[in-house]
């Protein structure tokens, strides 16, 4: 508790709080963690994420780390990826995982939903052309199954193909043999994940308690 109250930039926190919706307490905690990861510097590099022990076991580790450096997640029309991020960016990425407020209207939910799905979409759409192509989708599934050896690799292809086919048949319907389906657009992405209730699932319980001491 005392750690963040003694911090000088209270005003800075308030700004961030307004932007991201986190409470001051949560920002304080996340800032502590940020500093822990960046070794008390103001910027965070890709290498710093390697220090997170538990992340090593994560099959989609690289994609998660990439998401922190993806400009599209910070500005509406950002392009490309950054080399290093500051705390504000870190917090912005985190804010994608905030739970929606208790009382939200239908439109607000839709906005949240779109934002969260856009984040996911950007993770898949690595070349930023607005569609998830078959290659990209395959890559996603392969990463997902990367822990299951050679079996995963081959099946991943099949799964990605099936999934792609499903998207194509749902969103386009009938296709003549000579037509070509480039990939999943964002609108189609929204459509196929309608049943997933992303706004209630893509949430993390941000604690109000500082647990950085426990982390390695």
């Amino acid at each position: 508790m005392g750690s963040f109250q003694s911090l000088p930039d209270d005003h800075h926190y308030r700004n961030l709080s307004k932007k991201t919706g986190f409470s001051l307490e949560q920002i304080g905690i996340l800032h502590n963690r940020f500093k822990q990861l960046s070794l008390n510097e103001e910027i965070l590099r890709r290498d710093d994420f390697n220090k997170v022990q538990d992340l090593k076991d994560n099959p989609i580790r690289s994609q998660i780390v990439e998401a922190f450096f993806d400009r599209r997640n910070f500005h509406k029309d950002g392009v490309g990826s950054m080399e290093e991020i500051g705390f504000e960016e870190f917090l912005t990425v985190m804010s994608y995982f905030r739970a929606p407020a208790l009382h939200t209207t239908e439109e607000q939910r839709e906005v949240i939903r779109r934002a969260k799905l856009r984040f996911l979409f950007n993770m898949h759409d690595t070349d930023n052309d607005g569609t998830i192509t078959l290659e990209e989708y395959r890559h996603v599934v392969e990463e997902l199954l990367s822990r299951s050896g050679s079996l995963g690799k081959e099946t991943a292809k099949g799964i990605a193909d099936t999934a792609m086919l499903e998207v194509a048949s749902i969103s386009v319907g009938h296709m003549a043999p000579d037509e070509f389906y480039e990939g999943i657009t964002f609108e189609q992405f929204l459509k196929i994940l309608k049943g997933l209730e992303i706004e209630t699932r893509m949430n993390i319980h941000f604690l109000n308690m500082d647990t950085t001491v426990l982390c390695k």
């Binding site: 739970a99 196929i192 993390i204």
Partner: protein, 920 residues
């Protein structure tokens, strides 16, 4: 005595059956006449026995009569069926072949009815203990009575006493099973649901029979579900548990009417035999993910909610008792509290029974269900606490403190005991690889031991069972064979459903003839609503008011409360009888009123229901993706949240919420898994398993449904793999499209063949189980499949689907040829034709290059063609199957293919004969 009983039974039952039998007057009259005959016969027998006089009139004659009934049963049935046949002007064999629904129904009803009678009959001697010894001993008496003429060696002796208890148990179980059979849950009657107001049930039978007549092949018979409605329309409104209680009430009333004491649901029977299967079933199949995700809320409900309810109800009850004019001034506070603690526990059996039927959404279900499971500890502690206090008389602060400690000990002790046994079971299952047959037994025995051991120390047996089931499952599943696992699943389901049925029937039976007394249950409702308001602060997914209401409303009470009250010592609690009545009232109120109204309420409030449709593969991918993403983000921000404690890794072993001491996943992976799981045999990742299942299901569905029209919209055949390929070549579009009729024809051929294969597969499995219990076809298949994949080079693996530039028109030509002559697949000429076409595909070159016998070429090509056909017409479910085949030696191909052919989609070929002997 017996004659009277049967007469009474006949009188009582015939009006009821008249109402139930919907096939008209004929059957009823037959039944009545049938019923009369044994009555007469038995009374004759009785008088005959009385004439013989002496010691063995009472029970002996009774059982003689019983035998008479038994002897009459076949005659009755056949006579009845003869009547039935006359009425329908069909032959008996016709009846069987066409599966005439009405007759099946009537037969079943008849059986149930007879069973009912037998049960009542078997219960009669229960009260007849005072009556003189029975026939068996009577025979033995001959030695002592010299004037008694020496009897010949008894050719047929009668000794019911020997078998009485198991016989009665079996009868009860049989009754329970038949009840289960008789009840068709509403979700299985689509027609009745559409139009529940119009009288259905009877109307379905002609429909079904017409349908049957249309289907010429008898195989169809198997696919038509046996629609046996005991009470067709009622089942739409009333949950099964209510019906069972009513049946129990009827039986109880009947027994009472006959003048015997109805058997009471004794606590021992309930806690030692009926409850464990249900709880183990619940624990073993506990949906781990939603449970752990909502563990906080569930605990909150289970502990705080139950405490609150107990004290609130106890307090209010005490308050009411103190009112003037209630005549209950002698009720002390502790008794009230005791009653409150018992009544506040939501009953898992009742909750399971009702909630399974209303298909509510997962979250609500797990909340109510989890609460009902976990509040057992609270109830047990409170119960013992108050029981203890009320016998001592005074409470000190230390007692309260000790009570809290006791609660912790009881709940965590139960969990510990369960976990220990669970780990033992997992460890044992490591070594069972050579005795597959007894594998399932370990799970059951260890769990039961866990339950009993927990009960020894008055720990929470329910918690122990759940912990044991949950701990055991992931490891055991990884260790034991596929078949053993199926066995476990089926046994658990079987036991739990039968004992659930029995519990409700017994509840009804033991209620027969009690006085009723009103009890207030409303405070519970307030309690839960109040609680949810508090709870909302700690949840991510907030509960809406509707959900709160349903949770409050779903808190059904059941047999546990009844048994607990029944256990009370009569010396300390003068009010036991009143409590019993009260608890029965509460149970009946919750099960009947709430159970019956909860479905309409759920509809009315438009509470989110469970998604009926299966998840699409995209959703599955993203569910997995989300899990990893959320875990990753939590790791990055250093919070140990929900996601740390659940299954994160894509492999199988789930983290257990019961040991949240350290980072479970890594711990699990590093140590536990090594100790408890034998060897390299690991299960597929969830996503892959999902994919395989989907693949398999689609293959069967597709072929069975007989066309794209019936396919779910997820997989229409209009978009094919070509459309989504990065590079797509299609120059030869001039080829004519296959007509719908043609496609239909192909599908028909496929369908008939697949059905045959599946039949063959089934009977084949039956043989292997006898011959070689170790055989595990599916696993072998998977292992082989993996091995082949490992052996393969990447270049070979690339099927023509994934090769950037497939040869022009190969699939289309193949398809065209197929459609032009679908029958000639296995024939050489077609193969000769096909070869140049398929030869263009890189993968097939392997086969062409190597000199092979014509036979094997035939096989390969036919398979190839098969897959081609599928990709085009039926769209891509054969991809992995095809890719598997390529580039392997011939030895590998042969068995491999046969399996594939069974699993995927065989065309008719010469191989058919080879398998013929397996057909009956």
């Amino acid at each position: 005595m017996w004659g009277d009983a049967v007469e009474i039974a006949a009188v009582v039952m015939v009006p009821g059956s008249q109402a139930r039998l919907d096939s008209g007057f004929m059957e009823t009259s037959v039944l009545t006449s049938i019923l009369c005959s044994p009555t007469l016969a038995s009374s004759q027998q009785q008088s005959h026995f009385r004439d013989r006089g002496g010691s063995h009139c009472g029970r002996g004659s009774c059982w003689q009569g019983f035998i008479c009934v038994a002897a009459h049963i076949p005659a009755r049935i056949s006579g009845f069926l003869a009547q039935n046949q006359l009425a329908h002007r069909t032959t008996w064999s016709d009846n069987i072949v066409s599966g005439h629904q009405t007759s099946i129904m009537d037969r079943l009803k008849c059986t149930t009815f007879i069973l009912f009678l037998m049960l009542v009959a078997s219960l009669l001697p229960l009260g007849g203990h005072a009556s003189p010894p029975e026939m068996g001993t009577g025979n033995g008496d001959t030695g002592h009575k010299p004037n008694y003429t020496k009897k010949a060696f008894p050719v047929l002796s009668f000794d019911y006493k020997n078998v009485r208890i198991p016989f009665e148990i079996s009868l009860w179980v049989l009754l329970a099973s038949l009840m289960k059979l008789g009840y068709v849950p509403p979700c299985q009657q689509p027609m009745a649901l559409n139009n529940s107001l119009s009288p259905r049930g009877v109307g379905q039978c002609p429909e079904a029979s017409v349908k049957l007549k249309k289907a010429s092949d008898t195989q169809r018979l198997l696919t038509v579900p046996l629609r046996f409605h005991l009470i067709p329309r009622v089942s739409n409104i009333v949950p099964e548990s209510c019906l069972l209680i009513v049946v129990g009430l009827l039986i109880g009333g009947l027994i009472k009417f006959v003048g015997e004491d109805p058997p009471v649901l004794s606590s021992k029977l309930f806690f030692f035999y009926l409850l464990p299967p249900i709880i183990l079933d619940a624990g073993y199949f506990l949906p781990m993910r939603p449970f752990t995700e909502n563990l906080g809320t569930i605990l909150m409900f289970a502990v705080v909610g139950t405490l609150w309810n107990a004290f609130f109800i106890g307090g209010v009850l005490y308050g009411v008792c103190q009112l003037k004019g209630v005549n209950l001034e002698n009720m002390d506070l502790l008794s009230c509290l005791l009653f409150g603690s018992v009544v506040s526990a939501v009953d898992p059996v009742a909750v399971l029974a009702v909630f399974e039927e209303i298909h509510i959404n997962e979250l609500l279900h797990i909340l109510v269900f989890g609460e009902s499971l976990l509040n057992d500890a609270v109830t047990v502690v409170l119960y013992h606490l108050f029981e203890e206090f009320s016998s001592v008389g005074s409470i000190t602060v230390t007692d309260v403190f000790l009570g809290i400690v006791c609660f912790l000990v009881v709940s965590f002790g139960g969990i510990m005991v369960g976990a220990i046994y669970g780990i033992l079971a997992a460890f044992t299952s490591r070594f069972t690889s050579h005795t597959r047959v007894i594998e399932p037994l370990f799970v059951f025995v260890y769990s039961y031991l866990a339950y009993l051991s927990a009960e020894v120390f008055h720990l929470s047996g329910i918690m122990a069972l759940i912990a044991c089931g949950a701990v055991t499952r992931p490891y055991v599943e990884a260790n034991i064979s596929h078949k053993s696992h199926t066995t476990i699943k089926y046994f658990l389901k079987m036991w739990s459903s039968v004992s659930e049925t029995l519990i409700f029937i017994f509840l009804g039976v033991s209620t027969g003839g009690r006085r009723a007394q009103l009890e207030l249950d409303l405070c519970d409702l307030y309690g839960v609503i109040g609680l949810t308001l508090v709870i909302n602060k700690f949840r991510i997914v907030k509960l809406t008011t509707k959900d709160q209401f349903i949770i409050a409303y779903g808190g059904l009470r059941g047999a546990i409360a009844f048994s607990l009250i029944y256990l009370l010592d009569k010396d300390h609690f003068a009010m036991k009888e009143m409590f019993l009545t009260a608890i029965i009232t509460v149970i009946f109120f919750t099960v009947f009123v709430q159970g019956m109204t909860i479905r309409p309420l759920v509809d009315l409030l438009a509470v989110k229901k469970k998604q009926e449709t299966k998840r699409s593969i995209n959703e599955e991918i993203h569910t997995q993706f989300l899990d990893h993403l959320l875990t990753g983000i939590e790791d990055i921000c250093g919070h140990y949240g929900h996601h740390h404690w659940k299954d994160n890794s894509s492999d199988q072993i789930k983290a257990h919420p019961f040991l949240p001491l350290f980072r479970l996943n890594r711990f699990n992976k590093k140590y536990v898994k090594k100790c408890l799981i034998v060897g390299e045999r690991s299960k597929e990742p969830q996503l892959i398993a999902f994919y395989h299942k989907m693949e398999f299901k689609q293959a069967i569905e597709l072929v069975e449904s007989g066309g794209a029209s019936k396919l779910p919209s997820a997989m229409p055949s209009t978009v094919s793999m070509q459309n989504i390929q990065p590079k797509k070549v299609s120059q030869d579009r001039a080829l004519p499209q296959v007509s719908k009729a043609r496609e239909e024809e192909i599908r028909k051929i496929l369908r008939t063949n697949l059905q045959k294969t599946r039949l063959r597969l089934r009977s084949y499995n039956r043989h292997t189980l006898v011959a070689d219990p170790d055989d595990d076809g599916w696993d072998d298949f998977l292992i082989k499949r993996n091995r082949i994949k490992d052996l393969d080079k990447m270049s070979h693996m690339t099927h023509h689907l994934t090769v950037p530039a497939p040869p022009p028109d190969s699939p289309t030509i193949a398809r065209a040829r197929l459609s032009s002559d679908p029958q000639a697949w296995g024939n050489k000429p077609v193969i000769e034709d096909i070869k140049p076409v398929t030869g263009g595909i890189p993968t097939i070159k392997v086969e062409l290059a190597s000199p092979q016998s014509p036979e094997s070429v035939c096989v390969v090509d036919e398979f190839k063609k098969d897959s081609n056909e599928q990709e085009d017409g039926l769209v891509m479910k054969a991809m992995s199957l095809v890719s598997k085949k390529d580039g392997t030696g011939e030895d590998d191909i042969e068995p491999q293919q046969r399996l594939q052919r069974c699993l995927s989609d065989p065309g008719p070929s010469a191989e058919e004969e080879e398998d013929e002997p397996f057909l009956p």
